[in-house]
């Protein structure tokens, strides 16, 4: 076999091996991370860390496309439960009026150069984007279930209050890879703000229940 032929065969083998390897999801993921580094080259190290670097839960949910196998789902939920934090005063039911404002407001935390939010701008929960909550707000989305009459449906027991709080603080405690943002866990809302949202859902005076 001539050197030339051997070289060609070698080259072919390499190409074949490379193609086979490229099929591997792990390698795609690796290449994606490199591509993201280049594509978001303007992001500061802090922005990268807070906005693009994945935590373990995000990485697992991405890898399993939000349908993790049972044992992975259990570990994600266990971790979420372990990380649950509550307001310093221990009150899980806050002020429903504050809650309504948080639920209605969509802004805050947008980094873009073209249409940025002011640094330190108030952040909303934007609940109406995905949930129908009150009769008066008709422009409500349907990505999540309707929550109108929540107190009637769920009751106002201590367990119900705790369930609502934990759902908003970290929805993945009860449903691994839920699409709902982990508002409390990620520090988007404070424990007190989460408690205000709980009141918006459960207070009999809240428009959710009237």
């Amino acid at each position: 076999m001539s050197t030339r032929t051997r070289q060609s065969l070698c080259a072919l083998l390499i190409v074949w091996a490379a193609l086979a390897a490229a099929q591997d999801a792990g390698l795609v993921q690796e290449r994606l991370e490199v591509a993201l580094r280049h594509s978001f080259a303007d992001a500061t190290p802090d922005e990268w860390k807070a906005r693009l670097k994945q935590d373990e839960t995000q990485a697992l949910c991405s890898r399993y496309r939000n349908a993790p196998p049972p044992e992975i789902a259990a570990s994600i939920s266990a971790q979420a439960k372990a990380g649950m934090r509550y307001p310093p005063n221990g009150k899980l039911l806050g002020d429903w009026r504050n809650g309504e404002q948080i639920a209605s407001f969509s802004g805050g935390g947008q980094l873009s150069r073209l249409m940025p939010d002011a640094a330190g701008a108030r952040r909303g929960g934007n609940c109406f984007a995905c949930h129908v909550l009150t009769r008066s707000e008709v422009a409500a989305g349907n990505l999540g279930p309707s929550l109108t009459g929540y107190a009637r449906v769920r009751g106002t027991s201590t367990e119900s209050v705790r369930y609502a709080y934990e759902k908003i603080y970290n929805a993945q405690a009860s449903f691994a890879c839920s699409f709902m943002p982990r508002f409390g866990h990620n520090g988007w809302l404070t424990p007190d703000q989460v408690a205000d949202l709980v009141a918006f859902l459960l207070d009999p005076q809240s428009p959710v229940n009237r």
Binding site: E47, S146, W188
Partner: protein, 274 residues
């Protein structure tokens, strides 16, 4: 049709927006169905006088206008079907180009042509790309219009194209940031809305096709045409991600994945959107 007629129709359409809002002010499930119906009607009405036609006409002028240090037009630009062959070219992008050894979308390819044919620097070619009435907006609208009636057929013959599509697919599902968002958060379930805006399911061919057939699109809320890159950059703003660089690999990869999902759609671009 004169531009004045366009403007008049647009004003009428815009005045009707609050009326549409009133009409959808019913409740719950009936409200959902009613909302969609009214939004569809509103869209249909707007289709009659899509101001994107102005952008398209300006794009044609720009395409044939000698410009840049070399005083050359873009008429010999190769968008994948050969120099100057525009018919159906958009419907097959993004694709791999031998000369740049890159998978390019319509915008990155136009930048290549501005640099190689007209002698512009990259900075000059992309300057103000996102602004209303930018040259990029007009050129993309014109080029997309030349694919009207053509079927989207995303090219995946080249290994680099396959790789790009795989990257885009992985990115579509990649969650990060303070709200845990990925594209899939809003775009992987049928019949969903964020507030009153439909968010289509890109994993369903019919849904993906309905979207991709319409881009680039005139956005009534923005008052000008948005390219697909502009659209995706804005999705990432709403996801609370940092802003990706224009023409970057992440954006082109997502486009490669989305175009593939929309395979077979008959292009109707430029479309019109909220």
């Amino acid at each position: 049709m004169s531009s004045r007629t366009h403007v008049r129709r647009l004003i009428v359409a815009l005045l009707l927006v609050p009326c549409v809002w009133c009409l959808v002010a019913l409740s719950d499930d009936a409200q959902n169905a009613r909302a969609r119906e009214e939004i569809d009607k509103y869209r249909e009405m707007l289709q009659e006088g899509n101001p994107a036609e102005l952008s398209e006409a300006r794009g044609e002028e720009l395409w044939n206008l000698p410009a840049g240090p070399r005083r050359t037009s873009l008429a010999q630009c190769d968008l994948g079907n050969g120099p100057g062959k525009l018919e159906g070219a958009y419907a097959r992008l993004p694709r791999y180009f031998e000369d740049t050894q890159q998978v390019q979308d319509v915008e990155s390819r136009l930048v290549t042509c501005m640099m190689t044919l007209q002698g512009l620097t990259r900075e000059q070619a992309i300057s103000g790309w996102y602004k209303a009435d930018s040259n990029m907006e007009a050129l993309v609208t014109y080029v997309a219009g030349k694919s009207r009636g053509a079927k989207i057929q995303a090219s995946t013959a080249h290994p680099e194209e396959q790789q790009m599509r795989a990257l885009g697919e992985a990115l579509f599902f990649r969650r990060s940031g303070p709200l845990d968002f990925s594209c899939a958060t809003c775009h992987s379930q049928p019949d969903k809305r964020i507030r009153l805006s439909e968010v289509r399911d890109f994993l369903i061919p019919a849904d993906a096709q309905a979207v991709l057939a319409q881009w680039p699109a005139y956005r009534v809320s923005q008052g000008h045409v948005w390219t697909m890159e502009r659209r995706l950059v804005d999705c990432m703003r709403q996801m609370r991600w940092p802003e990706p660089q224009y023409l970057s690999e992440a954006i082109v990869a997502l486009e490669a994945f989305l175009q593939k999902q929309g395979d077979g759609a008959v292009m109707q671009a430029p479309g019109i959107k909220r």
